[in-house]
């Protein structure tokens, strides 16, 4: 029970940091710590834990969003489900490089899911504005991929120091 309360607090703090801290910084505003964290949790701790975090983070993010409730939950769940499938069936060597590819795939999926969601809900009249695909969008998208990769690399190096089983990720011989 305490574990799930901890999960709720972590999710809330991450959403808080994403919206109110990174949002105010130049360039770093493009970093998506929520997505990177979800992918990291999914890889290291498994789909079950990733599933719960996807629900919680999606729920709290919806508090600060104007998309219909449940949008972020559906998007995050779909992304971690697909990445988990790829991880178990395609990228089975568990190296840092395949995991970075997963971050790229996850970021692309997230950005285009959000773009599609905005367009569809705008056409349905549920929101007042959509995301414009212009030079700024592509610049922001590029920054997001680069920053997400940097963060994921950092997380893995930190985790390597603390979680022994992650040594396999770097294909190091013991």
């Amino acid at each position: 029970m305490l574990k799930y309360i901890f999960f709720i607090l972590i999710s809330l703090i991450l959403v808080f940091i994403q919206i109110s801290f990174f949002g105010a910084l130049p360039i770093l505003a493009n970093l998506n710590i929520l997505l990177v964290f979800l992918i990291f949790i999914n890889i290291v701790f498994g789909f079950d834990t990733g599933f719960i975090f996807a629900l919680l983070i999606g729920f709290f993010l919806n508090l600060y969003s104007f998309l219909p409730w449940g949008t972020f939950i559906v998007i995050f769940l779909a992304i971690i489900w697909l990445l988990d499938f790829l991880y178990k069936n395609v990228f089975i060597n568990f190296s840092i490089y395949s995991n970075l590819i997963m971050v790229i795939i996850g970021t692309i999926l997230y950005v285009f899911s959000i773009l599609l969601a905005y367009f569809i809900f705008y056409l349905m009249g549920l929101i007042k504005i959509y995301i414009v695909i212009d030079k700024l969008f592509w610049q922001s998208f590029s920054y997001q991929i680069i920053l997400n990769l940097v963060l994921m690399s950092g997380l893995f190096y930190l985790a390597k120091l603390t979680i022994k089983r992650l040594n396999i990720v770097f294909l190091f011989k013991k």
């Binding site: 808080f16 940091i17 994403q18 919206i19 109110s20 801290f21 990174f22 949002g23 105010a24 910084l25 130049p26 505003a29 998506n32 929520l34 079950d48 599933f51 719960i52 629900l55 919680l56 729920f59 993010l61 508090l63 600060y64 969003s65 104007f66 409730w69 449940g70 939950i73 959000i114 905005y118 929101i127 007042k128 504005i129 959509y130 995301i131 414009v132 212009d134 030079k135 700024l136 922001s140």
Partner: protein
Amino acid sequence: MLEKKKNRLIKIYFVAVIILLIFLHLFKILTLPEKYLLSFFTDWQNKSISFATRLKYSFINFQEAQNLKKENTLLKGQLDQLMYENSQLNSYKSENEKLRALLNYLPGNEFDYLVVKIIGKDINRANTLLINKGSADGIKVGYPVIVDNGVIIGKIIEVQDHLAEVLLLTDKLSQLAISSLNSNKTSGLANGEYGLSIKIDLIPQDVEIKEGDIIITSGKEENIPRGLVIGKVNRVISAANELFKSATINPLVDYEELLIASVILPKKL
């Protein structure tokens, strides 16, 4: 096997709770807890943005200090020029204050204002701000948002009960009817450009507009009074064979530094 079953049950439990919370939200049963949750975090979010802004500028200031050392000699030579410009700016400031008093940017008793705190930005949209008040406080879509003494920064684009989103004027989808300080006619339409500046399109050729002109809201849009300052004209683009000319405006405030703003509300009769 048991572990798998337990995990499945936990997942089902979480999904059920989330679906229940969504339904409670849709039927407005969770309004009060949401209000308390959001207001509990508002101060911390505002402080977080303030800290991030200070962090950003401390880094920028360090870099600038390094550059200034190299430019020291050049700056000393330009000191006289800067003193002359400073005296000019002081006279503009004095003129600006008199003009604001004349404009009376909340004309008559038609409008009131609501002070709001900026608590963050939309994770998926640049050029937006999230504020801590919503429809429960009387805010509606289309209401203008101002800072300082009547400088408009954007319009309300989305509203929930206790949260609203402001679309900044520098966003591509932002549109505002404007006029020049010297004219009572609507002179054009202000659109944002790449989150950096504002461009005025559809200025008739016969409307006089030049660099340095102060651009204000025309008052022709619903709920947006005349006289809210948008910025100063930076450049005018005009071709003789075109029906309209265009101009670019520099905003008077840095949209990255905002922590407090006001939403203009129509006064209840």
